[in-house]
């Protein structure tokens, strides 16, 4: 039997409140604006989890901003089983050659996806390439990646909300919460 989703009851703990998220995003926006003062910036967001963060962050940045979206297949995704290799499902809409680019991520854990993305984007010869992540989970890191802007460093827990999903749900929560373990153990 499929377990019904209960957005409120399935969250065991609120890890980052909506207020804390917005306050930190304001700070990140100020920091990015100062670092790129006088230079236009291209924000590249990675679908789907980074969408809310991108939407809020871009409105806190005061330098001219262009945005672009990418989607990268994830291991285990049904659409990628045939090739067995990570693929770009949605590529950039415009060139980034000679541009200052900031990758906007929702969470970095193993770093495998971001490592792939960095290699891919470097090949497009941007003027600079930096990384901004809302959440960093260093306990899971396999690939050492230098992250330029970090919203929150979080413990090794399964989190959802504010773009982050479990089975494509919970993205619309306005906070970041820890999913009750029984939600995913019952699903197996």
């Amino acid at each position: 039997m499929v377990r019904p989703i209960d957005l409120a009851a399935d969250i065991g703990e609120i890890l980052v409140t909506e207020e804390a998220l917005q306050a930190r995003i304001r700070e990140l926006g100020s920091q990015v604006s100062a670092d790129y003062a006088g230079r236009p910036l291209t924000l590249v967001s990675v679908l789907k989890g980074a969408l809310p963060f991108m939407a809020d962050l871009m409105r806190r940045i005061t330098v001219p901003v262009r945005i672009d979206l990418m989607e990268v297949s994830s291991y285990g995704g049904t659409s990628t089983e045939s090739s067995g290799l990570v693929r770009i499902l949605k590529d950039l809409s415009a060139t980034i050659e000679g541009e200052d680019v900031l990758i906007v991520e929702d969470i970095i854990d193993t770093g495998l996806t971001l490592n792939y993305l960095l290699r891919y984007l470097r090949g497009k010869n941007p003027r600079s390439l930096r990384i901004c992540t809302l959440l960093d989970k260093p306990a899971r890191r396999l690939v050492d990646i230098s992250v330029d802007y970090v919203g929150f460093t979080i413990p090794d827990q399964f989190v959802v909300g504010y773009g982050l999903d479990y089975g494509e749900y919970y993205r619309n929560l306005s906070f970041v919460g820890v999913l009750r373990p029984e939600v995913y153990t019952d699903a197996g």
Partner: protein
């Protein structure tokens, strides 16, 4: 793990290097450590431990010894809970079942005991 590394196009070699960690009085190697994976581009070794608690302890001891003797070595120990986290992240429940159901590996319902060797072993993971 090999499938995941292949998917993300991370080059790997399986057990290419062996590190002696114990010698007898004659100087012969009596114990050594061969990490499972070598990721040359990342200068990183991965050692997988989806095994019983007793074997996890033994592996932890070996790893401590290796790092004493070879402090520049970069080794990441992958516990059963790390596998669970990856399977959860990628929605691979069937593969999780395969990993945890094999004799001598993590037994469902006993994960907390089996994975207690690592820090935060009783936590859920992304």
């Amino acid at each position: 793990m090999a499938r995941i590394l292949d998917f993300y196009q991370v080059r790997w070699e399986y057990e290419p290097h062996t590190f002696p960690i114990l010698w007898n009085l004659d100087g012969a190697v009596v114990e050594s450590f061969s990490p499972d994976f070598w990721l040359p581009d990342l200068d990183l070794y991965l050692e997988m431990t989806t095994l019983r608690q007793k074997l996890v302890r033994k592996k932890n001891r070996k790893l401590r010894r290796v790092l004493e003797l070879y402090p520049d070595l970069r080794v990441k120990l992958f516990y059963a809970r790390d596998f669970r986290a990856l399977m959860l992240k990628y929605g691979k429940f069937a593969l999780y079942g395969e990993l945890s159901g094999t004799s001598g590996q993590v037994v469902p319902g006993r994960d907390a005991e089996t994975t207690a060797a690592g820090p935060d072993a009783d936590e859920a993971e992304r």
